[in-house]
């Protein structure tokens, strides 16, 4: 219980820092302030990068874009997956088979490859969203479909059906609330994968362009100076790693408490990149 609260507090702190860090940064994250590749010192707690910009300010400001894109992508993927899963699980029959075939097709392609191909044609944000939806929505769809199938035999659903409620009303009022835990835990997993895809695309140069502060982009920019100022690589790496790890662990802690979740987690083979 203590570890769970601690985890959520930590996660909230990290996310809040990433979201609001741009405002509390001591320096302008894009302004050259001093000598390049200076080590940690009183003026620049994490030193400076190749252009003499303050690494600490850039780390504080560099997470907001990454996280907001990932949240948008995860929400879209979850919405598409939940809608599809509700429809497939409730209707069954041909629709269910078509949905299963489509998810098999989408799951066969690694999300990052898909993101790269999409990034050819569309700008960075769209590529992250499309890749997360194509790689993640099928997993959500399966989970939700299975949950719908197991819930739709329950007595209270039967009762609602006997009251003459429409299918849509039953799904929204009776079925969806019963699988709140499943959907939330799944949203967390989608967010982790979206962060992985977004950071990969940003590192490859298909995200924000150079003067912009961004954790993933900083990793690539500062790689050449890793011997002179190790913090310039270690700090953004730690920020990005901490965010994803805390997120994944919080999801797991939340899912462990949920009685429906562990059964599907085991079959969730295509989780990552």
């Amino acid at each position: 219980m203590v570890s769970r609260i601690l985890m959520f507090v930590l996660l909230a702190v990290v996310l809040a820092t990433a979201a609001l860090g741009g405002w509390v940064a001591p320096h302008d994250p894009t302004a050259p302030l001093g000598a390049p590749w200076r080590g940690a010192g009183p003026e620049h707690p994490l030193g400076t990068d190749a252009l003499g910009r303050d690494v600490w300010s850039r780390v504080l400001a560099g997470g907001a874009g990454l996280i907001s894109v990932s949240v948008l992508a995860a929400l879209t993927a979850s919405f598409v997956g939940v809608a599809g899963g509700l429809a497939a699980g409730w209707a069954g029959g041909a629709l269910d088979r078509a949905a299963t075939a489509l998810t098999d097709l989408l799951l066969a392609v690694p999300s990052l490859l898909l993101a790269l191909v999409v990034a050819v044609a569309l700008p960075g944000h769209t590529a992250v969203v499309v890749a997360t939806v194509c790689g993640g929505a099928p997993l959500t769809l399966r989970v939700v479909r299975d949950a719908v199938r197991s819930i739709s035999g329950a007595g209270y659903v039967e009762a609602a059906r006997c009251r003459g409620e429409s299918g849509a009303a039953i799904l929204v009022r009776e079925v969806l609330p019963a699988m709140k835990g499943v959907v939330t835990a799944d949203l967390g997993l989608r967010l982790v994968v979206a962060l992985q895809i977004a950071s990969a695309l940003n590192v490859l140069g298909f995200g924000p362009s150079p003067p912009e502060p961004d954790w993933a982009l900083m990793l690539r920019e500062n790689m050449v100076g890793v011997a002179m100022n190790p913090w310039s690589v270690a700090a953004p790496a730690a920020a990005l790693g901490l965010t994803t790890v805390l997120l994944a662990l919080s999801v797991q802690l939340a899912a462990d408490r949920d009685p429906v979740a562990p059964r599907w987690r085991r079959r969730n083979v295509h989780v990552g990149l």
């Binding site: 050819v120 190790p230 994944a248 085991r266 990552g272």
Partner: protein, 332 residues
């Protein structure tokens, strides 16, 4: 007439599956080919959406509309999309994926030149990650008490983006300790296996997340097998733990292990783009990324389709292997 023989104790009558042994692999193959066709359409469509085409890219900066149109005709790019798609697929099947728009070299040459480097990288990572994920999965799945710690470690570790692992390893092994070079530039024409010090960082940064990811997936399967009655029975009979692991648990893990390996291989191929670009390693991954950046459509199409083909072949192979290794289906 032979007298009825007593069945050895514990050997239940074996159920033979109704499917003839060849049907399953054939079905897997057919599905893989179908999926590949679908993927080729997706790849072609996505690359066709590119602003600007081969002609505009090739034309000199001051070229007029007229000249670009003439060049487009000359390159054969003015046909309908489905015709272009068919000629592309036809060329691929005939072993000719076209020429690069940037330097005019045949795409097949560029791919053949880069393929050994990526094959070494992905193969080496898989060789390193496969036993590691089996050990990690076994450790996390068979822990009788306090399963939370290993599971948390595997879940948390697998969530870390490959970029972060690569950067962290570079900062540690190259920046702080100075053991290996931070950049893995390979002289052209030199097999990567001859410069093992250049492979350390890329292979480790790909193998580590894969091992954690695969271990997490296998842990569930291990827990399932360990909970089966025959394992408890073997333990009660006093069989040593290593023998229980090798004889009673491992054969049942082959099917999930094959599937996890296939998924992990697909992930490794995708991760190669990031790792190769980050370390400047001259493989197909960095070729794909640089071709996307320079809008070199034929190269992008070929490399993306090749990657998808390898991933699909791996998944089909895993399905076939998984069907063949289930000890309960054994007919001997």
């Amino acid at each position: 007439m032979r007298p009825p023989q007593a069945a050895p104790s514990g050997a239940a009558p074996r159920r033979r599956s109704g499917v003839p042994p060849l049907r399953a692999p054939l079905w897997a193959l057919a599905r893989g080919v179908l999926l590949l066709c679908a993927v080729s359409v997706v790849v072609f469509a996505a690359t066709s959406l590119l602003p600007g085409d081969a002609a505009e890219l090739r034309a000199s900066p001051g070229a007029t509309e007229e000249q670009i149109r003439a060049l487009r005709e000359e390159l054969g790019q003015d046909a309908e999309p489905w015709r272009l798609y068919l000629s592309w697929v036809g060329g691929l099947l005939g072993g000719d994926p076209g020429t690069s728009l940037v330097n005019g070299r045949p795409v097949a040459d560029a791919v053949a030149q880069r393929l050994p480097a990526t094959a070494t990288l992905v193969g080496g990572s898989l060789l390193l990650a496969a036993p590691a994920m089996l050990l990690l999965g076994g450790w996390a799945g068979s822990a009788r008490r306090g399963r939370a710690v290993p599971t948390a470690l595997l879940t948390g570790g697998a969530a870390v983006p490959t970029v972060v692992v690569a950067a962290g390893l570079a900062a540690l092994l190259s920046g702080a300790l100075g053991w290996v070079p931070a950049v893995s530039l390979l002289p052209p024409g030199r097999p990567p296996i001859q410069s093992p010090e250049l492979l350390v960082l890329p292979v480790l940064s790909m193998a580590l997340p894969t091992a954690l990811f695969g271990g997490g997936l296998l842990a569930g399967a291990v827990a399932d097998v360990v909970g089966r009655p025959h394992v408890a029975d073997a333990r009660r009979r006093g069989r040593p733990p290593w023998a229980v692991a090798a004889v009673d648990v491992l054969p049942f893990l082959m099917a999930p292990f094959a599937r996890v390996l296939a998924v992990a291989a697909g992930g490794l191929i995708a991760a190669a783009t990031v790792v190769e670009t980050l370390f400047g390693y001259p493989g197909l991954g960095s070729l794909l990324v640089s071709s996307i950046a320079s809008r070199d459509v034929p190269v992008v199409q070929t490399v993306a389709l090749l990657a998808a083909a390898v991933v699909l072949a791996g998944l089909a192979l895993a399905d076939a292997v998984a069907g063949g290794t289930d000890p309960r289906r054994r007919t001997w």
